[in-house]
């Protein structure tokens, strides 16, 4: 027989960016432990709609942990209590019968709340636009082995590139710093020869944009790395610091 649990949800409701939000409690019964966290929220919303109430607004897209669209700060952890997964990969088997589950939006000055649990993460796009790319005039396709790249570098660049830009690092950071995100995006290029060409300009431009958008400073607590669904390492932050300091000393 399928196991089900009864839970109480304490969800942040906020009608708009300028309005004051508050927690509201919802009781849900007979939730299958096999359902995902977002499916559970779908069930809640269906009930709310049937009762004629406003459904809870939250972000989601692919629901398989690769798009970086889902967020939610669940019981004090971005992406919930499980490790190395996004909220969409979180299942109700991680919770017990009778649990009170507190669901909050990412809270950071850089990510203003749009409504309920949905925040505006456009700041990350602006940081990418500031320098998170390589300028290439595409010609003929060269052979993949034309530029030799050490395996270790390729692996580390790939690990950095696994960042999906969900913003859990900012949500977890007590300073609301986006350093893990920015450092991953700087590293994925800085480690490869194609990205080296613009490395100095990129580090300066992306960091300046990050500061401008109101994110905090890094205190090296490591909370971002611990909560990152993709396990991006804070050694990337050391690389960003190095790239930035080197670039500034050269100026």
């Amino acid at each position: 027989m399928e196991k089900t649990i009864n839970i109480t949800l304490r969800i942040w409701r906020q009608r708009g960016p300028k309005e004051k939000g508050a927690f509201k409690e919802y009781a849900l019964s007979n939730i299958s432990v096999d359902s995902s966290f977002l499916e559970m929220l779908d069930i809640l919303n269906e009930q709310l709609i049937n009762k004629g109430e406003e459904p809870v607004v939250f972000d989601h897209d692919c629901r398989e942990g690769i798009c970086g669209m889902c967020s939610l700060y669940i019981n004090g952890h971005p992406h919930g209590p499980d490790e190395d997964i996004t909220t969409c990969q979180l299942h109700m088997r991680k919770f017990n019968d009778g649990d009170v589950i507190t669901v909050e939006p990412w809270r950071s000055a850089g990510f203003p709340v749009i409504r309920d649990l949905m925040v505006d993460r456009g700041a990350f796009d602006k940081i990418i636009q500031a320098g998170g790319y390589i300028s290439v005039n595409t010609g003929g396709v060269p052979d993949a082995n034309a530029i030799p790249i050490p395996k270790a570098n390729a692996d580390e660049a790939m690990d950095a590139a696994s960042c999906i830009g969900c913003g859990a690092c900012v949500a977890a950071c007590k300073n609301g710093s986006a350093m893990l995100f920015v450092s991953a995006k700087v590293s994925q290029f800085a480690l490869l020869p194609q990205g080296r060409v613009e490395a100095a300009r990129r580090a300066k431009a992306m960091l300046a944009k990050m500061d401008e958008l109101g994110f905090g400073n890094c205190t090296n607590t490591g909370a971002c790395e611990a909560e990152c669904p993709k396990n991006v390492s804070i050694s990337n932050i050391a690389r960003l610091n190095r790239e930035f300091i080197k670039a500034k000393l050269k100026d």
């Binding site: 019981n75 990510f111 350093m179 990050m210 400073n217 205190t219 090296n220 050694s235």
Partner: protein, 220 residues
């Protein structure tokens, strides 16, 4: 100026002043330990430093470093709190592997600064400052040994200093490796190495200071 405008620049100032203060503490501890072995040798050091020009220049540089470190700490904390936004989380659960000290550096720093004021009054005021101004004619500014023995004869003072050293230990174990990380001198392999070196180095410094307090408070 990037040391004023950029987030990494501000952290670089914190790192360099912090590492400089750690270097100062290393020398300070080495000299203090001498007092356990020989009062005469310790007073020789006090006389050698005293209010000579090089000691005065050194004092000014150290004070400058400390003031910069403290000013930047408050400035950065202000920016960080603003970046956190107006609404705070209702439920906060510390993630695994996050050092307690790393999230409470300002609080630890304030405790250290308050202890420092007391410490300056207890010793620096009666030694270097006294030598320059002659404000306390009854106190010999070069008898550091006598001052230590007198101060720590009260075990309550010794215990207060020991508590202070614990706060310094927490502040520095995070501060040392964190400074190197901020200066970019880190990678996947050295991350755990620096943390380990940090722990050993700061334990040695704090044990050195504690040894003097324990020796004069409870043994001598």
């Amino acid at each position: 100026m990037w040391l004023l405008n950029s987030s990494i620049g501000k952290k670089v100032v914190m790192s360099i002043t912090g590492l400089f203060l750690i270097l100062f503490l290393t020398f300070h501890m080495s000299m203090n330990v001498v007092a356990i072995f020989s009062g005469e040798a310790y007073n020789m050091i006090c006389e050698f430093l005293g209010a000579n020009w090089y000691a005065l220049v050194g004092t000014l540089v150290i004070a400058g470093g400390a003031v910069l470190h403290i000013l930047y700490a408050f400035w950065l904390t202000y920016i960080n709190r603003r970046a956190r936004g107006n609404d705070r989380y209702k439920v906060v659960d510390k993630p695994q592997g996050v050092e307690w000290a790393s999230q409470n550096m300002l609080v630890l720093g304030i405790i250290i600064a308050l202890g420092l004021l007391l410490h300056l009054y207890d010793f620096w005021f009666k030694m270097q400052f006294n030598e320059i101004t002659g404000i306390l004619p009854d106190v010999n500014p070069h008898d550091g040994y006598g001052l230590i023995a007198e101060k720590f004869a009260n075990p309550a003072i010794a215990v207060a200093y020991l508590v202070w050293f614990v706060a310094i230990w927490f502040h520095l174990t995070h501060g040392f490796w964190s400074a190197l990380q901020t200066l970019g001198w880190n990678n996947k392999i050295w991350l755990s190495r620096w943390k380990c070196i940090s722990c050993i180095y700061m334990t040695v410094i704090c044990l050195g200071f504690a040894a003097v307090a324990i020796y004069f408070g409870f043994i001598a």
